[in-house]
């Protein structure tokens, strides 16, 4: 039944399927709590998955343009992965800055400098700086106690990676396996990185219990949405995408402010006890 060239075996050997599987395993191993060896194995698996995925993308014809897309993309994706797996505020906040800067750089090629600048100021500046100041004030610098061993990281990793796989399949179906011209190649790359950010943020939001990381993970997802918007706007040569991305940044700031208020995560344990008195 399972001969070497049966469709099932061929499907199991395709790069997208392998990437989803390896990526899920890697993200699961990376999630806290985990020992050093486990995390190193996670890094290796996740890097392999990312490489497999990157090999599926069409390349730009000019090596300079290619590098200008590739380097920020790698920065954004690796930093996003670090954001959702780091355990101390200094690490996850600085990794989030990296994600935001990479995303902003990816928005630049089409000339969408206003949303890029907004992302750089809001996501790489205001949000991490504000959260850092408040965490300092609350006297909390380590909170791994929130993430306990459970099945959630595994389920979250599988959910996020399958989401990425589905989105990449939809993109490849709409744009063709290999981009034909410069514009659609640029679109394919931008939207693919957007889908990656969405899936990675999903893993963090579903798999972590630390409130600040969950907030940052949701912002990674929103960054993925704005990046896809900008990429599509560049393709359609339409400025409405830039307006939409600006408003998404405004909504992101509101979410952070409300989140800080609502989850009361910045109170010390002692204050928290009588918060309702």
């Amino acid at each position: 039944m399972f001969t070497i060239d049966s469709p099932w075996v061929l499907f199991l050997a395709t790069a997208p399927f392998l990437a989803v599987t390896l990526g899920s395993a890697g993200a699961w191993l990376l999630m806290p709590p985990g020992r050093m060896g486990k995390r190193l194995a996670g890094v290796a698996l996740a890097a392999t998955a990312m490489g497999l995925w990157a090999s599926q993308l069409p390349r730009l014809d000019n090596w300079l343009d290619d590098a200008l897309v590739c380097l920020p993309a790698i920065l954004a994706v690796v930093a996003a992965m670090a954001t959702i797996t780091a355990r101390t505020p200094a690490y996850y906040l600085s990794a989030f800055v990296g994600t935001a800067l990479g995303t902003a750089a990816l928005m630049l090629p089409g000339g969408a400098w206003l949303p890029a600048a907004t992302v750089a100021v809001v996501h790489a500046g205001l949000i991490p700086a504000g959260l850092w100041l408040m965490l300092r004030r609350a006297g909390r610098n380590s909170s791994t106690s929130c993430d306990r061993p459970s099945r959630e990281p595994l389920l979250a990793a599988v959910a996020g990676m399958v989401t990425i796989g589905v989105l990449w399949g939809a993109l490849a179906g709409a744009l063709g396996e290999r981009g034909s011209d410069h514009q659609s190649t640029l679109l394919h790359n931008g939207a693919a990185v957007g889908a990656l950010l969405l899936g990675i943020g999903l893993i963090g939001l579903l798999g972590r219990r630390e409130t600040v990381v969950m907030l940052l993970a949701s912002q990674v997802m929103l960054l993925g949405a704005s990046l896809s918007l900008i990429a599509f706007g560049r393709f359609h040569n339409d400025a409405a995408a830039n307006t939409f991305a600006l408003w998404i940044a405004v909504a992101a700031v509101c979410q952070i402010v409300v989140g800080v208020a609502v989850t009361a995560m910045l109170l010390r344990p002692a204050q928290r006890k009588d918060a309702g008195a």
Partner: protein, 448 residues
């Protein structure tokens, strides 16, 4: 935009807006009232939006204001010190789940924008209807976009696999917070879903109605069965409100088919209006009957209310009858309109539609019976049981005003439905009217 807004400031709309503010504000108090009103503002922005950007912003405004309203209505505050989400309050739960919803929704909107190159709903509709457009190869992204949008909004509507957080949110907030979460946010998400599905689905995604239909049937069945066994009034009401969302999703799925009944969109709005009136009225009555430091918690506390507080009892019974959809009250017209549009598709729909909607008709009929059981149980407890104690009724004037407005609306609409149905027809025409015309015109031309 401004001129359009001013032109809509007719006497009827001003009265309607005032009534909504009285009703929603009457249930809550203090800072919570301000956030409830802001959530209503978000709902209005969604209702008036003809573009993806205000749609997204209105929904964000509504959901973040809902979180703040829940935060100010928190009841269960002696948390253990660890910042674990499992033990945190209603607002934190609603907020963290809402983050997921808004991110998926935003990405779905990005894909929808990407497939058509426009944020205007009318343009999206026109572009998708034209299969020979230059960027037509991108139209296949609409399917993914629709799935993401349905999931993102389904979390806010509390459609059944995605309702997981709702019961706990309601148990940890007061009745004022429950109104915002169960009525205002749900209405905003439903209107947004209606706008987007009617713009995106019928032409390019002829199968999108199936996912909505399955969600609707699951929602009403699971929630109605769960509500049957509840003695806690909060849990009973939250499952009742989830189930009511199912009927509205059912109406939505009939609009999303390629061949919708012309007044199916109006049916959704009629249902939404009658549901909102009865649900707000119920919660306002409970606030009115409660003490200052403790609200009505369990069904038993309503025993014998017909003798001790006859007016409040009559209002509560009226709302329960309306939620159950029994004729003298307004809810009947909502149920009738929804069921009529479903039966219509079961009779004259295409071969692929008919079996699905025949099943939907049967399931809906069973659900109407189930819902009648637990709503009439409340009426029976009020009128047939001996009083255990007289409720203090320390709610004050604001909830009393809300009760009066809601009860008057429920009774009057139950007897004279024409004004509501006409208003909903006009609103539906301005929201989705062009879809119905466009999808009917190509059919008529070959016939002529």
């Amino acid at each position: 935009m401004t001129a359009d807004l001013i032109s809509r400031l007719t006497l009827g709309n001003v009265l309607l807006g005032t009534a909504v503010l009285i009703c929603v504000g009457g249930v809550s108090a203090g800072a919570q009232r301000v956030w409830s009103w802001l959530a209503v503002a978000g709902l209005m922005l969604v209702a008036a939006a003809d573009d993806l950007v205000p749609l997204f912003l209105g929904l964000e405004l509504a959901s973040l204001s809902t979180c703040m309203a829940l935060h100010f209505g928190r009841r269960d505050i002696d948390e253990p010190e660890a910042a674990i989400v499992k033990e945190s309050g209603a607002a934190a739960r609603c907020f963290l789940v809402g983050l997921l919803a808004s991110a998926l929704f935003a990405y779905g909107l990005a894909l929808l924008y990407g497939s058509t190159g426009s944020t205007g709903l009318a343009t999206i509709r026109a572009t998708l209807a034209d299969a020979d457009a230059p960027g037509a190869n991108l139209f296949s992204l609409v399917k993914t976009a629709v799935v993401l949008i349905v999931v993102g909004l389904g979390i806010r509507i509390a459609a059944v696999p995605l309702h997981f957080y709702m019961p706990n949110v309601h148990c940890r907030t007061n009745h004022g917070g429950a109104v915002v979460a169960a009525v205002v946010l749900k209405a905003a998400a439903l209107l947004a879903l209606m706008r987007i599905l009617t713009a995106a689905a019928p032409q390019s995604q002829p199968d999108a109605w199936r996912i909505v239909l399955v969600l609707a049937l699951l929602t009403m069945t699971v929630a109605n069965v769960a509500a049957l066994r509840q003695d806690n009034l909060r849990r009973l009401l939250v499952y009742a409100s989830i189930a009511q969302g199912g009927y509205m999703l059912l109406a939505l799925s009939t609009i999303t088919t390629a061949d919708p009944t012309p007044d199916a969109a109006a049916a959704t709005l009629v249902y939404l209006g009658t549901y909102a009136t009865a649900m707000i009225g119920t919660l306002a009555t409970l606030v009115y009957l409660g003490r200052r430091d403790r609200e009505i918690e369990i069904v038993e506390e309503l025993a014998g209310l017909g003798r001790s507080r006859p007016w409040a009892a009559a209002a509560l019974a009226l709302f329960a009858v309306s939620l159950a959809g029994i004729p003298p009250a307004a809810g009947f017209w909502g149920k009738l309109a929804v069921i009529r549009s479903v039966v219509d598709l079961a009779q004259r729909g295409g071969a692929d539609l008919r079996p699905w909607f025949v099943v939907a008709t049967v399931v809906t009929a069973i659900n109407v019976l189930l819902a009648a059981v637990y709503h009439l149980r409340i009426v029976a407890v009020i009128y047939l049981r001996m009083p255990l104690g007289i409720p203090k009724a320390e709610g004050g004037r604001a909830p009393a005003a809300a009760v009066i407005v809601c009860a008057a609306a429920t009774a009057v609409i139950g007897l004279f439905r024409a004004p509501l149905v006409d208003a909903c027809d006009r609103a539906a025409e301005s929201m989705v009217g062009t879809t119905v015309q466009e999808s009917q015109n190509p059919e008529q031309e070959p016939g002529e």
